[in-house]
Symmetry: C2
Subunit: 350 residues, 2 copies
């Protein structure tokens, strides 16, 4: 199979927060990223803008990017409401004309746009609408809680708090520690990184846990599944998705993700619950259905000094009695260690 | 506005459980039901089959039903997967030809069927796909928790346990007790009875709480909203929908619905949690966002003698310390009494 060679479109919005999809792809798929397409930032060094991506060029036009022999154009920005801006239509058609796959995480599906669909059909290229759910989903049927593999779900105090990155980092650290592990993606950027997955916030409400169950069943041969969490079960906008994912994936272990200093929820005047409240809420809503506990805390100390981050990690360990770390700053060692006693095959003999 | 005069289609499946939608409509909209269309049961007395609906004829053909001057044909049965059986197409076309509105609670939408849509357009009749969500839904934004009205949500130990009927009965009893009350429907049969609502299990997962919030905002001028619950937050198939509804509707009071003897969840080998577990789970998952408590228990003692039901009501009152009743057998008085201290305007002065 041909390796994907991505051009990431961020047109004018390149940045750690303004182009979160692009930033994550560059962080975790730098070997597959051949260029960033952004006429405003063209010519700058990518690592100066994103802190990652050394050596990857920022170009002003798709024509320039073609010199790097890409296979895919990836839309690397989220838009308000997930709508496709008219200004991007031209570059998408240009990519199709060049035979590139187009990878799209917006709510607007390219396959449902007649002009794109016809053009892609004629050129024989794939339009990958990452958020398009499978057409044959069903309700969850509680079929995975008895599987012998270890399922870890990252859960959070809020949305956009580091659940995806924690899941990816835990998966990597677990592999390095010898686990047969896999990252299971449940959101658009995670799916682009993993190459597969289901955007659980897009499925019909009745099918949330069914979608999670299917993802687990698809990867059930793995010893460890590290599943990307969504939202939080205590966020008034997203709690349904979070709980459906929790009950559908039936994880034995949860890793609680938090950002020190985040006291109020994103976009809402609602206080972020305490660590204790979050741990109790997750464990007690799972317990009647399957045994499940929070085994570690993953902190997102972005913007803090190493010293301040270390102090915060120590403080949270003291408050919760659980191992804590910042997976990016200090690695995921403590989390993988916390999972060791749950390793399939060791549980019955320990 | 013309009063609806319904013919309810149950073709061969008429019964309290086999045609649940029909049974609920006959129970709560008998004044609007002019006939039941069921060639297998035609000629029988409806009350002998359903226990309700005295005097409503069962007819074998739509032609016969037309003598009762109906305005609507209502599909009164759920099918596996919510799919429309081919055998029903003819009677639906016949109803359209007669100028009848067609009311459909299946997952298959009549408006998306070209032949039905064209025929209905030509005759100027409405095809009401009850489960079709509004096209302009959004995420929940925690906008209703501060409203001064009282919001009561019926929650349950399992699906199909009496949440809809409890909500309708509480609304009725509250009106009789002088409340300015309204029943808010969240499922297909409830919507047919109320005449409006949103089937929250059909919306995109991200919009569950937004749909609930919209329903509350639409009726915010009422003193009391009695909101139909869905599934249970401890059912592995439906928990996401239940929690999104709870957090979106932001009720101050919950009525816990149960069926004595139901020890295992419907369609799944999962134990039904205890009353205490259910009460704790609901209250603790709401508390970080808004004050909310279970104020009463509604028991569905269908099939039990009056004596056995009374004993069970007493037993549950003892176990939970909450007022309990069977709304159908004994009325909803104890529940409405439990709501009295929460009546808007009295809360601050009591």
């Amino acid at each position: 199979m041909q390796t994907r060679r991505m051009v990431i479109l961020t047109e004018g919005q390149l940045g750690t927060f303004s182009s979160k999809t692009a930033a994550s792809l560059v962080r975790y798929k730098s070997d597959e990223t051949v260029a960033v397409l952004d006429s405003v930032h063209a010519g700058k060094r990518l690592e100066d803008v994103l802190e990652v991506g050394t050596g990857i060029p920022i170009v002003a036009t798709l024509q320039e990017a073609m010199a790097f022999e890409p296979t895919s154009l990836v839309i690397g920005i989220a838009t308000p409401g997930g709508v496709l801006p008219d200004a991007w239509r031209e570059v998408i058609h240009e990519a199709i004309e060049h035979g590139l796959e187009v990878v799209n995480g917006l709510h607007t599906f390219l396959n449902e746009d007649e002009a794109f669909a016809r053009h892609a059909g004629r050129k024989g290229v794939r339009l990958w609408d990452v958020r398009q759910p499978p057409g044959d989903l069903d309700i969850g049927r509680h079929r995975v809680h008895g599987l012998p593999n270890l399922r870890v779900l990252t859960v959070g105090a809020d949305s956009s708090i580091g659940k995806k990155i924690a899941a990816i980092e835990i998966d990597r650290a677990a592999r390095e520690a010898g686990w047969d592990s896999e990252f299971v993606a449940t959101g658009q950027t995670g799916i682009m990184i993993a190459g597969s997955g289901i955007a659980v916030d897009t499925v019909a409400a009745d099918y949330i846990s069914g979608a999670a169950e299917r993802l687990v069943l698809e990867h059930k041969h793995r010893e460890l599944l590290v599943i990307e969490g969504q939202g939080t079960i205590l966020h008034p906008s997203y709690s349904g998705v979070s709980l459906g994912l929790l009950h559908g994936a039936a994880p034995q272990a949860l890793v609680l993700c938090h950002q020190p200093g985040r006291d109020v929820m994103r976009n809402l005047p609602v206080a972020v619950p305490s660590y204790t409240e979050l741990i109790t809420a997750h464990e007690s809503i799972a317990r009647p259905l399957f045994p499940c506990r929070v085994v570690a805390v993953s902190l997102n100390c972005f913007g803090m000094s190493m010293d301040d981050a270390r102090r915060e990690v120590d403080r949270v360990e003291g408050e919760t009695g659980l191992p804590a770390t910042d997976c990016v700053k200090f690695g995921c060692g403590p989390i993988v260690e916390a999972l060791a006693p749950l390793k399939p095959g060791t549980r019955n003999t320990s």
